[in-house]
C-alpha cells in the first residue's frame, strides 16, 4: 500500500476494529481502564487529606497513558499468539507502523471517559488555561506514544499472553508508582532523587505539575523536561521500528 489515503483507511479501520467494536460487546471496558488511576486518586487524596490532589490528578492522567501501552502489549500478544491475527496482518499490505498506531489509537478510545473525568476535575480546580492545556496535551501525547512503542516492542517477544500479566504491573510500578508521578519529587529522600530521573514519567509529571501551578519548573528545567521526554519517546519509537519482530527471524 503506497499511497497515504490507503494508509489512513487502514489506520482508521484498525482503530475502529480494536477501539470501538469491542465496546459494543463489553461496555465495561470503558470503566476498567479507569479503575487504577481512580483508585490511586482516591487513596492519595484520602491519605493526604486532599493535599496531594493536584499530584494525584496529574499522576492519574499519566498512569492512564501508561495503561494504554500495557493494553497495546496485552492485545498485541493475544492477537499474535492466540488468534494469529498478526500473521494475517503481516501477510497483507498493512504495514507494521500502521498496525501499531491503529492499536495505540484504539486504546485512546477506551481512555476517553477516564480522561473526561480527570479533565472535569482539572477544570473544576481552576487549573485550566490555554498554556496548561497545551502542556497537558503535549505531555499526554508523548506519554501515550512512548508507552505504546514500549508495549509493542515487548509484545513481539512474548510467547504467551500470561507473560504480559507479569510485565504490565512491573512497568506500571517502575514508571508510575515509584517515580514521583503521584507525589512531589521533594517527598523523596534526596539520595533517591537522581534515580527518579531515570524514568521518563518523572519529566512528564514535572511538566504537568508545573502546568497546574505546583511550583512550575524554571524555564531551563522545563526545556530539559521536554527534551528528555521527546528523546525517550523518539528512542522507544525507533526501537519499536527496528527491534520489534514483525517478521520472525
Amino acid at each position: 500500500m503506497s499511497d497515504s489515503r490507503h494508509r489512513l483507511r487502514s489506520l482508521l479501520a484498525i482503530t475502529y476494529l480494536n477501539g470501538v467494536v469491542p465496546i459494543r460487546t463489553q461496555p465495561l471496558y470503558l470503566v476498567n481502564i479507569l479503575a487504577s488511576p481512580l483508585s490511586f486518586l482516591f487513596f492519595i487524596v484520602i491519605a493526604s487529606h486532599g493535599v496531594f490532589l493536584p499530584e494525584a490528578v496529574g499522576g492519574g492522567m499519566i498512569l492512564m497513558m501508561l495503561s494504554m501501552g500495557t493494553s497495546v502489549q496485552t492485545d498485541m500478544t493475544h492477537y499474535r499468539q492466540d488468534l494469529k491475527f498478526q500473521d494475517v496482518m503481516v501477510a497483507s499490505p498493512i504495514e507494521a507502523p500502521i498496525y501499531v498506531a491503529g492499536l495505540a489509537l484504539s486504546e485512546l478510545v477506551y481512555a476517553l471517559p477516564g480522561l473526561f473525568v480527570f479533565l472535569l476535575i482539572w477544570i473544576a480546580e481552576g487549573w485550566a488555561n490555554p498554556q496548561s492545556a497545551l502542556v497537558l496535551t503535549g505531555v499526554l501525547l508523548l506519554s501515550w506514544a512512548f508507552a505504546s512503542a514500549l508495549g509493542f516492542t515487548l509484545a513481539t517477544y512474548f510467547e504467551d499472553v500470561r507473560e504480559t500479566f507479569v510485565f504490565s504491573p512491573l512497568i506500571s510500578l517502575a514508571l508510575s508508582v515509584l517515580p514521583p508521578v503521584y507525589y512531589p519529587i521533594t517527598a523523596l529522600p534526596a539520595m533517591w532523587r537522581p534515580l527518579a530521573y531515570l524514568s521518563p514519567t518523572t519529566y512528564a509529571a514535572d511538566l504537568i505539575h508545573g502546568a497546574m501551578g505546583l511550583g512550575a519548573p524554571p524555564l531551563l528545567a522545563a526545556g530539559i523536561d521536554w527534551l528528555v521526554l521527546i528523546a525517550f519517546t523518539v528512542a522507544l519509537v525507533v526501537l519499536a521500528a527496528y527491534k520489534a519482530r514483525w517478521r520472525e527471524p
Partner: protein, 310 residues
C-alpha cells in the same frame, strides 16, 4: 507463464543444533490453481507457507513470490497476498460482516468497494444469513469459512491457507472446500497445506509431499501414481494364501482379505485369477494414501512428529 512461487534450495533451521524444518526445497508453483502441500505434522508445510507469506525469514536458499524476492521485496509481495494461518481464529467481538469488511478496509480498500466485495463473498459462500452473528457464536466450520471468505474477498493474487479444515467435521470441511474452489474458479493461486489426503486430491491441481523438511514428491495427483513402483491396488477376499499372492507384488493383510500393490499387468492377472476362483476382488489405481505410505513408509495419520518444528 512464469511461476507464482519459485523456491530454490530453500532451507530453514530455527536454531543451531536443531533439525532443519525445511531442507533444500526446490519447487515451482504455477499461477491460477490450487497447489496442495501435504505431509505429516512437523513435515515443514507451515514453515514453507510462512516463508512464502513473508511471516518468517528463510535460513538459506531463494524464494520468489510473483517474481519478488522474499528478502528485500516483501512489501511488493504483501500487496498481492492474503493468508489464513494455521489455528488462526477471528477476533471474537466481530460479527461475520465486520470480519470481512474491516479486513478489506485494513487492506486499504474504500468503503464502497469493501461493502460490495463483502456482500458478494458472503452471498456466494452462503454466509449472508449469519452476517450479523458474532463469529464466536458460529460453528467451527462456519468460522473457518468466514476466515476463508475474508481473504477471498480481498484483491490478493495468492491466497495462503494453512490447514484450513483441521479439526472440522466432514460437513464443515466440505463447506470450506466450496470456498477454496471458488478461488480456484477465479484463477487465483491458492497454496493449501493439509494432512487430509482426500482434501489435497479433491482440490489441488498439483501436489508436493514433504517429510522431515524434504520434498519427496511433486506433480499433479494423476502423475504421482506413475511415479510409484507399484501403481495398482488389488483387494482379494478368501481362497488365497499370502504366499500365493507374493509373486504379484507387495502383500499386506486387511480386514477379511489381502491387499496387493502391483504393476498393471500383474494386477490384472491377479484380478482374473481371483474371479476364476469366485473370490471377491476389487482393483484400481493406488490412492494418495497408498502413495504416501510407499514414499514415506508410514501413514500420514502417524502422529509421531516428523521434525522439531512445523
Amino acid at each position: 507463464m512464469s511461476a507464482a512461487i519459485e523456491a530454490r534450495g530453500l532451507s530453514k533451521r530455527y536454531a543451531k543444533g536443531r533439525e532443519a524444518a525445511l531442507s533444500e526445497v526446490s519447487l515451482s508453483i504455477p499461477p491460477g490453481a490450487v497447489y496442495g502441500l501435504i505431509g505429516r505434522n512437523g513435515a515443514g508445510k507451515t514453515t514453507f507457507i510462512r516463508i512464502c507469506a513473508t511471516q518468517l525469514l528463510p535460513s538459506a536458499g531463494d524464494l520468489r513470490v510473483l517474481g519478488f524476492d522474499v528478502r528485500g521485496e516483501e512489501r511488493k509481495i504483501r500487496e498481492r497476498i492474503a493468508c489464513v494461518p494455521q489455528e488462526s481464529r477471528p477476533l471474537y467481538f466481530l460479527n461475520v460482516w465486520e470480519l470481512v469488511y474491516l479486513y478489506l478496509k485494513m487492506r486499504g480498500l474504500d468503503a464502497v468497494e469493501s461493502r460490495r466485495r463483502t456482500t458478494n463473498v458472503l452471498d456466494e459462500l452462503g454466509l449472508s444469513e449469519v452476517k450479523g452473528t458474532l463469529v464466536n457464536r458460529l460453528s467451527g466450520g462456519m468460522r473457518r469459512r468466514a476466515m476463508v471468505a475474508m481473504v477471498l474477498a480481498s484483491d490478493a493474487e495468492i491466497l495462503f491457507l494453512d490447514e484450513p479444515t483441521t479439526g472440522l467435521d466432514p460437513i464443515a470441511r466440505r463447506e470450506v472446500w466450496g470456498a477454496i474452489r471458488r478461488a480456484s474458479r477465479e484463477k487465483r493461486t491458492v497454496l493449501l497445506t493439509t494432512h487430509y489426503l482426500d482434501e489435497a486430491e479433491a482440490l489441488s491441481a498439483r501436489l508436493a509431499l514433504l517429510e522431515k523438511g524434504r520434498l519427496l514428491l511433486e506433480g499433479p495427483p494423476s502423475e504421482l501414481r506413475g511415479r510409484v513402483r507399484l501403481p495398482y491396488r488389488v483387494t482379494v477376499q478368501g481362497s488365497f494364501l499370502p504366499s500365493e499372492l507374493e509373486r504379484f507384488g507387495q502383500v499386506s493383510d486387511v480386514e477379511g482379505g489381502h491387499l496387493v500393490f502391483a504393476q498393471e499387468g500383474a494386477a490384472r492377472e491377479l484380478a482374473m485369477l481371483a474371479l476364476s476362483r469366485g473370490a471377491k476382488v476389487s482393483m484400481g489405481p493406488v490412492s494418495l494414501e497408498d502413495i504416501f505410505m510407499e514414499v514415506v513408509g508410514r501413514s500420514i495419520e502417524d502422529d509421531a512428529p516428523a521434525a522439531e518444528a512445523t
